[in-house]
Symmetry: C2
Subunit: 284 residues, 2 copies
């Protein structure tokens, strides 16, 4: 198991997610370095003991020293970085990421990397509506899902390594999906829900209703505070699966609308009973 | 202020809401009686000190004794009850309710009641996904909204009385809306959100995704566990305002779908920025 050797860990992108990875891994005794273009992020992380040391741009030394590289940057930044610096990663190193969409990007990164470097994609399904290493908090992993997303280029050892990383980070559940399965799933449980939350805030000016919102409205729109640069990129990367999920949902809204219009009380009740039964399975 | 006299309180319908009202009011020292068709509800409430005494059907004595009557039953049950028993309510008594839709029902109840009895409608915007007096908990009122919904038949004293009841119950915010304003607002912040949550659960069979749902999906579907008898009744009572809100929301989903289809990244980002700015106002 490669975790047993004391390889240095290099985290590229020290935001909320990179910072939370760093915090957890350093607290477990690993040597953790980081690269982030924001000098304040590096300074903050060093001062607060989140990383051992950091850089505001890639350096050959830091890259060559790392036995584990974790990318917590925007998808297009990730691919560009690998294209420019990937050849410096040493033989035997493990590379992983936190990207929320997998098809396309995983295969491209695997092709770009030099022989002897294994990229095993993963998606930590954790997040908050706050940004930056200043909000890093490894408790966001508790109760959350960690998904390993291998392709046929990955080794069994690589998959086991990724699962072990998920366990070390403290995730509650670890599972394995193909890139296509992952993207279809994420289109539904994450992206569609974000589209709905945004639509609920933008469909009409509700600001005069602020005093009247109860838990329901707040719950449905919590994720409507959204990093527009990141999420628009993720939506476009997952265009086809997300469009399909949106169409399914819009169709169902039309069906419910038709039932209300026709005063089909029994039809509405049947939908509500189905919804109640399904949702009960998700409770914890 | 009528609260100062030691009138008995009679709660009709001892479910989650009626039970939570009873618990709070009795803890403040009021004498609280209740009527509920479920003998177990009455027995439980007496044994747990939630009410002083209770009945499984309306009795002339109990009704005549009450200076305050609070109806926490289904809308159609409320109107039928008043039609059958309303004439027994004594001169000077105050009547209120917890019904989630107001137009139509408020005017009807006011017409049915005898002279000298004032019905002031109110809507406590609190609830849980559990039912029955066994789950009664007056902490559900904290942080929640209490809406007084007067008509031109109500007196200023009646409106003040209702606000005072909201304060006694421990609501964080108390406001006053007309029945029409109330129903339009509730169509958006409460009913539309419940329709969306139901649609998200019923649009496709997601039960195999239970392991992959994060906070977003759970938040958006928490209210998808829904009392189908009550909510279908509320939806139909508020048909026109709810249809209007659903159409506005469905239109916006179509707009966002079109932007994704056309890969209009800037359009999507603009929507996300608007959503983020608006949602920030709702934060607390």
């Amino acid at each position: 198991m490669r975790w047993i050797s004391d390889n240095d860990i290099l985290i590229v992108g020290l935001g909320l997610m990179g910072g939370s990875y760093a915090k957890r891994l350093r607290s477990l005794g690993y040597h953790v370095e980081a690269i982030d273009t924001r000098p304040e992020a590096i300074t903050y992380a060093v001062e607060h003991g989140i990383i051992d040391c950091g850089y505001t741009e890639p350096t050959e030394d830091a890259i060559r020293r790392a036995g584990v590289l974790i990318f917590a940057v925007y998808p297009h930044v990730f691919v560009d970085w690998i294209r420019q610096w990937g050849h410096l990663i040493r033989w035997g190193a493990m590379v992983t990421d936190v990207t929320g969409v997998k098809s396309g990007i995983v295969e491209e990164v695997q092709q770009l990397l030099p022989a002897g470097v294994e990229f095993i994609a993963s998606h930590p399904m954790a997040g908050r509506e706050v940004y930056g290493v200043e909000n890093a908090d490894d408790r966001i992993f508790r109760d959350a899902n960690y998904i390993v997303v291998p392709t046929d280029k990955n080794t069994l050892e690589g998959i086991e390594w990724s699962k072990e990383l998920g366990r070390l980070l403290g995730f509650a559940r670890i599972s394995v999906l193909s890139p296509e399965e992952h993207d279809r799933m994420i289109g539904f449980v994450s992206q569609l829900t974000h589209v709905i939350a945004v639509a609920l805030m933008t469909c009409s000016d509700s600001t005069h209703l602020v005093d009247y919102t109860g838990d329901s409205f707040r719950d449905l729109t919590r994720i409507a505070r959204i990093n527009d640069a990141m999420w628009s990129e993720l939506f476009l990367m997952n265009k086809a699966p997300l469009l399909e999920q949106m169409d399914t949902f819009i169709d169902e809204m039309h069906t419910l609308r038709g039932m209300l219009e026709a005063e089909d009380k029994e039809g509405l009740r049947e939908k509500m009973r189905l919804s109640t039964a399904r949702r009960a399975l998700f409770n914890k």
